[in-house]
């Protein structure tokens, strides 16, 4: 099934032939890239739900889409994914309508029944002091079957698989905040194994609701500098105080390089390398020695067959939490030495799109290659003296970009890095 072009490890080369993205900056690559390179922020005050009593009242939610009732994380995540995948598949011109000739790998936020639905069932089941017995009684009436289809873990991928006609068994996955990168990694591996000529890899997250925000807030992970909203995400700055939740989706069509060339497809870039390493130190903090972060970056470079000095820019995980940015800078210095390539964090403008981040930022990394421009890290006004690396601060930088590494790190010791190049390595 795979073609004859091989990478340095003798494996089929994986091309990118389609990309799609939705964030709080807009729908589609054009709007996102224009805003991103203009240093525009998509972070704003939350209007989706009241924020009285909350420490954080801002987010990069996507509020412009028409979402089918009931409004809930699975329905929004699905719509975000559908739009991003639609853009990517259209650009690739691969397959017919609802006939994508490849597998589906989807990073989706973990699903659970939400409060309006829980309350509807509880009130249908009882009227005294309510417990789960009442919720179950309500569910047993059989009137809430639609909720069942909505709140299954595999439901969003199921709908995307139907809409795009992907092949085989769609995979829904979570590696926390590196999920989007893992979805891409799974696609790369499947193509390299010759299992499929193409893969649709998506990361999506539309899960900013009160409880999700409160959960992160109680872990002290979020910025509380609510005024002005667009100033809150300050990756690598000394006064950074947490991340800002964001929503969005990123999608890539990955394709066996020769398969793409043979059908005359435009090659947008190459997914040259993936690296990962687990961290057994702590549930939310990374090993103080930075070994897993360093290991994941090195593994991605090795997988791509590139030396550190062959990387032109780093698309950072750069969450704007004190812990992440310190550890990430330290990891980059350990791998790249004195000359860490210019580094930037898209999260300064779109917030942390969580499950989607790795996929969204892979699209932006590839756009950097395409346009020869690195988007800025905005809000970089107070340098952190402990982070002395070349941050693309506040204004975009024009540069010939032929290779990018994009980092994604998550709770639970998840570290995943992707190397993207303009041409096969």
């Amino acid at each position: 099934m795979a073609g004859t072009t091989r990478d340095k490890h003798g494996r089929p080369v994986v091309a990118v032939t389609g990309m799609g993205v939705v964030t709080s900056l807009g729908v589609g690559k054009d709007d996102n890239w224009a805003a991103l390179t203009a240093g525009k922020s998509g972070i704003h005050r939350i209007t989706r739900f009241p924020t009285e009593g909350l420490r954080t009242t801002i987010a990069g939610t996507v509020d412009t889409l028409k979402i089918p009732e009931p409004f809930c994380a699975p329905n929004l995540s699905h719509e975000l994914a559908r739009l991003a995948a639609g853009e990517a598949v259209a650009q690739s011109a691969l397959g017919g309508k609802q006939d994508f000739p490849g597998q589906l790998f989807m990073a989706v936020p973990p699903v659970e029944v939400e409060w309006p639905q829980r309350a509807a069932m509880a009130n249908a089941g009882g009227n005294g002091d309510l417990t789960y017995t009442d919720v179950l009684k309500g569910a047993a009436t059989g009137k809430f079957h639609d909720f069942h289809d909505l709140f299954l873990f595999g439901a969003v991928a199921d709908r995307i698989a139907d809409e795009f006609g992907t092949r085989g068994s769609p995979i829904s996955l979570s590696t926390a905040c590196s999920s989007g990168a893992t979805a891409i990694q799974l696609g790369v591996e499947a193509i390299r194994r010759g299992e499929t000529p193409a893969a649709l890899c998506i990361g999506t997250d539309g899960s900013v609701h009160a409880e999700a925000l409160i959960r992160f807030s109680l872990l002290s992970a979020l910025s509380t500098q609510n005024d002005p909203p667009e100033g809150a995400a300050k990756p690598f700055s000394k006064n950074r105080d947490g991340f800002v939740m964001g929503e969005g989706a990123g999608a890539l069509v990955l394709e066996d390089y020769d398969h793409a060339v043979a059908r005359g497809a435009k090659i947008l870039g190459v997914l040259a390398g993936c690296g990962e390493m687990g961290d057994g130190f702590h549930r939310t903090r990374s090993s103080p020695d930075g070994k897993p972060v360093i290991g994941a970056i090195r593994a991605a470079l090795d997988d791509a067959g590139l030396r550190p000095d062959q990387i032109d820019t780093i698309n950072a995980h750069g969450t704007s939490t004190p812990e992440n940015d310190k550890m990430e800078a330290m990891g980059c210095q350990a791998v790249f030495g004195e000359t860490v390539p210019p580094i930037t964090s898209n999260k300064s403008m779109i917030g942390h799109t969580l499950t989607a981040a790795g996929a969204v930022e892979a699209v932006f990394s590839l756009l950097s290659i395409q346009h020869g421009r690195i988007p800025p890290t905005i809000n970089y006004n107070v340098p952190d003296p402990t982070i002395m690396i070349d941050i693309v601060a506040n204004t975009p930088r024009d540069a010939k970009v032929t290779s990018v590494i994009s980092n994604s790190f998550g709770f639970g010791g998840q570290n995943t890095c992707l190397v993207m190049t303009a041409e096969p390595v």
């Binding site: 739900f49 009593g53 973990p110 068994s169 829904s172 109680l218 990962e276 639970g412 998840q414």
Partner: protein
């Protein structure tokens, strides 16, 4: 591309029937189902047996950070590592990859109940919800709920740090977890995997998900195939397998329990006859076998179609229904079937090769062949 044999070299299991592979192999000849009909009446569940957590999760501080599904899963993972002779071997654990199939974690029922009661009469329900959630939720509860934190806990407690991935999506997540691990070993990408899943059935919120879909069967005395597609009795199960390239297992002198074939995974649209056709085709391609371990859920036409496909494609085979033994453990059921087939063949209690089915109650069709190593 290379094509290598994939060998099962370790099994860790906790279900309602017991701990370890032995009680489950014994159950192949006879067993008494372990069912709790009281705790969640009118629902029945197969509860996991009690285990000595300290054996595989030595630190109480780690145990406290987890909800039951994570504790049992982490425990079973440790048991699998021990069974494979890898536990504590930092060099092997550092290159070992991990794939976990699971749902999410448990909610705080007391908090939810109080909020639901208060919400009903709250003047401003959303504001009330904010206040209560901010003050009532335990900050670390989130870490016990995140799907990928079972994998995270396995990394922390056991030092499996090659890299972990968590698959969600009910039964098919379990099929795909084994499939991807198997494919990565077979293709030469990696040598060593820990793969499996954990489900705690003693959860009102788990019952809720499946009761919304009318999939929960309340009378455990009725066998899976006699329910007319009426549903499943949820069962707790935590199952982990150590999978390894044959060369790798040989080089370290590991005991080989069984050989795992390529895992097939499909997703039909579930039109009438789809399951019979797809499973039948996969079984025909796998060739005749004396044993089938069926994960038949007991729910919907998929249940009757699965039984029909097995009767047609393997009319002479002994069919073992894992759902009658341990109930239905969703994400963990396929790994349980593989473990049962492997353990049975290794012990000489089951005629090999065996086909293991994984047909989801709602979606997904999977099959794998397990045979003597």
């Amino acid at each position: 591309m290379s094509s290598r044999d994939v060998i099962i070299t370790g099994i860790g299991i906790v279900t309602s029937l017991g701990e370890g592979i032995e009680p489950h192999v014994q159950a192949l000849s006879s067993f008494t189902p372990n069912v709790d009909c009281e705790k969640f009446a009118p629902y029945a569940v197969h509860p996991a047996v009690a285990v000595e957590l300290d054996r595989h999760i030595p630190k109480k501080s780690d145990q406290r950070q987890m909800e039951p599904w994570q504790r049992y899963g982490t425990y079973a993972a440790g048991a699998a590592l021990e069974d494979a002779g890898i536990k504590g071997n930092a060099e092997l654990l550092a290159k070992m990859h991990l794939i976990v199939a699971c749902g999410g974690g448990e909610r705080d029922y007391a908090v939810d109940g109080q909020i639901l009661t208060g919400l009903r009469d709250a003047a401003e329900p959303d504001v009330y919800l904010n206040e209560r959630l901010m003050s009532d939720i335990r900050p670390t509860l989130f870490l016990a709920q995140l799907s990928n934190l079972l994998a995270g806990n396995i990394s922390i407690v056991h030092g499996v740090i090659g890299g972990s991935r968590t698959f969600m999506g009910e039964e098919q997540a379990g099929v795909d977890a084994v499939r991807i691990a198997e494919a990565r070993i077979r293709s030469g990408q990696n040598d060593l995997f820990l793969v499996g899943g954990a489900t705690n059935a003693e959860r009102a919120d788990l019952l809720l998900t499946y009761e919304m879909g009318g999939a929960v069967w309340r009378d455990p005395s009725v066998p899976v195939l006699k329910r007319g597609g009426g549903g499943f009795v949820p069962g707790s199960a935590s199952v982990f397998l150590v999978l390894e390239a044959r060369e790798h297992a040989q080089a370290r002198g590991a005991r080989m329990i069984a050989k795992l074939g390529p895992v097939a995974a499909e997703r039909s649209r579930r039109k009438e006859g789809d399951v019979t056709r797809i499973l039948g085709d996969l079984m025909m391609a796998a060739g005749p076998v004396p044993t089938v371990v069926s994960g038949n859920t007991g729910f919907s036409s998929a249940s009757t179609e699965e039984a029909e496909a097995i009767a047609r494609s393997a009319p002479d085979a002994k069919v073992i229904l894992s759902g009658d033994m341990i109930g239905h453990s969703i994400e963990a059921q396929f790994a349980f079937g593989v473990a049962l087939a492997a353990g049975g063949i290794h012990a000489g209690a089951t005629a090999g090769p065996a086909l293991v089915t994984g047909v989801g109650y709602h979606r997904g069709e999977g099959l794998v062949k397990v045979e003597a190593a």
